[in-house]
Symmetry: C2
Subunit: 219 residues, 2 copies
């Protein structure tokens, strides 16, 4: 297969995924036909079937594409924080990129779709939940355990600390998107501020006490 | 109308709401008929129509019943915290009752239903979001502003502090329920621990610095 054809094929695949996400969100899974997906994506019905087999496989491909695209890179960043020299700075940078990654419109829309169709496809919802939020929180827990070992954080239950970090940071924007859909308006300034404040609260609770005057010094 | 009949009528209404929630969650709104609701509730179709008019009104009644039942009492508790003598103890008590209220199976199921059908009924999702989470956070913000005025909290942005409090506390259980449905297993001990730890983190970030050595010993 020539590289040009592969590119074209990939573009078609992306167009189908995007058109199907739109239709599944506006007309529901049950109310969407493969004909409509093909028309909205500007491809033939045969092309849709060639790429995705059937409607259910198409739904599954959409739902799970975020898990790899977003969670993989994020976990690599989290692992790096565990060994960072300047832990405060590394957490701030992580928080900003974590928040920016999850509020991408395509990521929010897929998440919304998974949750909306959780009754019909409970296994997809569980797989998404395990692969995206839970795996991220597990990676954070591992990093925080390592930072506790290094004396950089005071964390006795890494998994709880990881949950606190995650929900201080992404809880409200994700929740709002589930009720309201993807609304434009959070600029990079607002995102950075949200991230910085989440890290501030997290560190207030989980930074080890050092020999500053007035605080109990760790022995 | 005799009181007995009113009671019976109320019981029927509750039975219809519960049966319809079940059906809407398992077969989706679009796949549920009023006949099925009547059969599942053990009442006549006429009774369902008499109480709720039509399927859409029935959906709206279910979706919005939590808003009043849960948010009203919660806001009263929040207002009381603003004037409490022992703010730490009052926040702990508030956190436990807030968390307990929102993880009730019926509340989670209705929330799930609102989010699942947000494409079909965006106005219901917005009304729920405004009336339940947002109004609770607004009430928290008001209480925290008052506590800052009293010198009991160090809060410069009450609305952000309120969001932190809410998502430290209820973020993870609500999110998990949206993906997994209502799974049994969080006992009162786990809920109390979740609540206590959320308050600990919140106070670490938002308690004003004091000069007394005892100020950071509460736990």
């Amino acid at each position: 297969m020539a590289p040009q054809l592969t590119d074209r094929s990939r573009r078609k695949r992306e167009a189908i995924l995007e058109a199907a996400t739109d239709l599944f969100l506006t007309r529901e899974y049950v109310g969407t036909s493969m004909d409509e997906v093909a028309a909205a994506a500007g491809v033939s019905k045969q092309t849709v079937y060639k790429h995705f087999g059937d409607k259910e496989s198409l739904f599954r491909a959409i739902a799970l594409s975020s898990v790899q695209e977003v969670s993989g890179p994020l976990r690599a960043r989290i692992a790096a924080v565990a060994e960072a020299d300047d832990v405060g700075a590394a957490l701030l940078e992580l928080a900003r990129s974590y928040l920016t990654a999850v509020v991408q419109p395509e990521v929010l829309r897929r998440r919304q779709l998974v949750i909306r169709e959780a009754g019909r496809f409970p296994d997809v919802a569980s797989t998404y939940h395990d692969g995206a939020p839970r795996l991220t929180i597990a990676a954070l827990a591992e990093a925080f355990a390592r930072l506790a070992e290094r004396g950089e954080l005071a964390v006795s239950e890494p998994s709880r600390a990881a949950t606190h970090f995650a929900f201080l940071l992404v809880g409200e924007p994700l929740d709002t998107a589930m009720f309201r859909g993807v609304v434009p308006g959070r600029g990079p300034g607002e995102l950075a501020e949200t991230a910085d404040e989440a890290v501030r609260v997290f560190l207030a609770a989980y930074r080890p006490e050092r020999n500053s005057p007035g605080s109990d010094t760790a022995s």
